[in-house]
């Protein structure tokens, strides 16, 4: 079934028009913009006109296969032949964003209400998005399987795919979402600009796992913003294993009392790669906990960036906000930029942040070598051990195994 590429309601047209106007005046952020100072995207305007990358039907080996409801996009185009929707409860809408506008009223109402259109990438996406998924889980639904979304990139044509995604969980529902970006077969420098808006109603729980394997040719900006209502929980785990340039903007807005936001991440930039994680835990009301642990392993002359903002607003008394960033540098050329940003306006709060950066424990390395384990294998063991703390947050065992293998492959191919 082919979905009409343009089913726009009036509110959507307004969103696009407004965003176009803003983008026309602001353009893309560049290195002079404080928030993006470590990133040099090159000449994005050249790519901006090329949305569709094209793909002729051919052999595609999906990198990961799990028992889940599934959508696959190849080079920014939805491919229904790879969908797995059997058994999807009737009280769940899991479909393409265009259909979502027609079938999910809250989507049309809420889209654009969270993402900050003053950010040039969000503006460009809002003006130009042409695909994406929508998920709406109705009250009382028991979703027994996870949902898996794959953005697969391949071939020799450059492009700038712009998915716009929307997730809405009604009261007391739960969803496990795995969103995977894979581009190791992509040969032409391309730019993937994704925006995801999420609304979690009271008591709902979202487990969201982002797997980023863009490959050498893909630059990525992945913007995710989540509105957490009363007593809802968002467990966000981000695993970033490759990409010419990756920028993750992850924002959890704690809008309801007792909402809990957890952000976990492991990022492993290799030589020539830069992975930049900007996160925000925005405490807007009282009694919310937030927890953050990001671990970086930098290989060769790669660069990692971690910028974790905790915003505690005046009414957010009894906030518990914890942030920790730990990094391993595997070579003398590796670099990490790490910065906590705490803005605290309430006075009865517990907030902490900590960062440590170092090299592999020499004593541990020597111990492993003294048992016959070479430096390469010893490094693998220690990096796996380091990453494990984050991987263990993921619920699906197959995904964990896949990621353990992917990390080992990454280390082997970039051997120090």
């Amino acid at each position: 079934m082919d979905i009409q590429p343009e089913i726009f309601l009036e509110s959507i047209s307004n969103l696009k028009a407004n965003a176009s106007r803003i983008f026309a005046s602001k353009g893309f952020p560049g290195p002079k913009n404080e928030d993006y100072k470590y990133l040099n995207f090159g000449n994005l305007h050249q790519l901006a006109g090329t949305h569709k990358m094209g793909w002729e039907q051919g052999e595609i080996n999906l990198p990961l296969s799990i028992d889940a409801f599934q959508f696959v996009y190849i080079n920014g185009v939805f491919k229904p032949e790879f969908s797995k929707l059997e058994g999807l409860p009737k009280t769940v809408f899991f479909g393409q964003i265009e259909q979502g506008f027609a079938d999910v009223p809250v989507l049309s109402r809420k889209i654009g209400s969270l993402a900050d259109v003053s950010d040039g990438f969000v503006a460009f996406n809002s003006a130009n998005f042409n695909y994406g998924y929508a998920l709406h889980v109705s009250r009382g639904t028991n979703l027994e399987k996870p949902l898996y979304i794959l953005n697969f990139f391949t071939g020799k044509e450059a492009g700038m795919p712009q998915p716009r995604n929307f997730v809405f969980l009604e009261e007391n529902t739960t969803a496990d979402l795995y969103v995977h970006c894979f581009g190791s077969d992509l040969e032409a420098d391309s730019f993937f600009n994704s925006v995801t808006e999420i609304v979690l109603s009271a008591g709902s729980v979202l487990n969201y796992t982002q797997i980023q394997e863009g490959g050498k040719a893909l630059q990525t900006v992945d913007y995710l913003i989540c509105d957490l209502q009363k007593s809802s929980t968002c467990n966000h785990t981000s695993v970033n294993l490759s990409g010419k340039l990756v920028r993750n903007n992850t924002q959890l807005l704690l809008n309801g009392k007792g909402a809990e936001g957890n952000m976990y991440g492991v990022f492993i930039p290799g030589s020539g790669e830069i992975i930049d994680n900007h996160t925000l835990a925005d405490h807007r009301v009282a009694d919310c906990p937030s927890n953050e642990l990001y671990k970086g392993v930098v290989i060769g002359d790669g660069t990692g960036v971690f910028n974790g903002k905790i915003f505690v607003r005046q009414d957010a008394q009894k906030t518990n906000a914890f942030q920790s960033n730990k990094n391993l540098l595997l070579s003398d050329e590796a670099a990490i930029f790490t910065k906590p940003q705490l803005e605290i306006y309430a006075d009865d709060v517990k907030c902490s942040h900590g960062s440590s950066t170092g090299q592999l424990d020499e004593k541990a390395l020597f111990y492993l070598q003294s048992r016959g384990i070479g430096l390469e294998a010893a490094t693998q063991l220690l990096v796996s051990a380091f990453s494990k703390e984050i991987l263990e947050k993921i619920k699906n065992e197959q995904v964990i195994d896949y990621l353990i293998n992917a990390i080992e492959t990454k280390l082997r191919s970039h051997q120090v």
């Binding site: 424990d361 004593k363 541990a364 020597f366 111990y367 492993l368 070598q369 003294s370 048992r371 016959g372 384990i373 070479g374 430096l375 294998a377 063991l381 220690l382 796996s384 051990a385 380091f386 494990k388 703390e389």
Partner: protein, 259 residues
């Protein structure tokens, strides 16, 4: 020094230092297969330095002398190759490695050692059986496999874990660096039992110890006393009993008289 190809280890006139401080000053030793050598001595005489130099710790610089292991120049080999050649060091202070499980660690080590020797890795089933068998020998609990290496282990458990690894890797020459330090009598018994079970006519042990007590359980063929960076007296197991009785001052006085 004999050129006897039966000799497993030949240390000849070894001088080694760390940070400009000379510790080993002409250390020599020959070890043949099937032998157990005990090295005793007061603190600060270079016992642990000897173990570190054998294992290949980079902080120590060899300034003179040679070490032949199975006719190969040991000092030319990287630490992992020394292990693959059949050298094992049981550390005095085993390090903790959170996140690396005991089973994964040993599986990797055994596979690399076997590969070096041209052997296929053990099947998962065989490896597990082998692991369980050796684990029982040192009386380490069944959760050992999934626990991280040495993490949360008591002193006694860490030392038993060293002997467990020794049993798993089956080296030609095992150097036990003060394995008995900090052990109660039960742990000592288990450690010694482990060594005695692994001992055979083709392998050899160098047992570095401060106290004679361990040598009641691991009977040495030769006892050497280290002082000021070299061996100053060698004898049979009776020498250890004499030391226990008379103390290290006895040796120092003997040396003073000779000087």
């Amino acid at each position: 020094m004999s050129d006897n190809i039966n000799t497993m280890l030949t240390i000849n006139n070894l001088h080694a230092r760390i940070d400009e401080k000379q510790i080993l000053k002409g250390f020599s030793l020959e070890v043949k297969p099937g032998e157990i050598h005990a090295i005793m001595g007061p603190n600060g005489t270079g016992k642990s330095t000897l173990a570190s130099v054998l294992a290949g710790r980079e902080e120590y610089e060899v300034t003179e002398g040679s070490i032949l292991f199975n006719q190969k120049d040991l000092l030319e080999l990287a630490p992992e190759d020394r292990a693959r050649e059949g050298l094992f060091l049981a550390f005095q202070y085993p390090v903790e490695i959170p996140g690396v499980s005991n089973i994964n660690f040993l599986k990797t080590a055994l596979a690399e050692i076997r590969k070096y020797r041209g052997l296929e890795p053990l099947s998962a089933k065989d490896f597990l059986a082998y692991f369980k068998e050796k684990q029982q020998m040192v009386e380490l609990g069944t959760e050992l496999a999934s626990r991280s290496v040495n993490q949360g282990f008591s002193g006694g458990e860490k030392k038993r874990n060293e002997i467990f690894q020794l049993a798993m890797l089956n080296p030609k020459l095992a150097v036990l660096d003060e394995t008995d330090s900090g052990l109660d009598i039960d742990a000592l018994r288990i450690v010694a039992q482990g060594v005695n079970k692994v001992k055979n006519p083709d392998n050899a042990f160098i047992v570095i110890t401060h106290y004679q007590r361990l040598l009641d359980y691991i009977i040495p063929d030769f006892v050497h006393v280290m002082y000021d960076g070299r061996i100053v007296k060698s004898g049979s197991k009776e020498l250890a009993l004499q030391l226990e009785e008379k103390g290290y001052d006895w040796i120092k006085n003997e040396l003073a008289v000779e000087a």
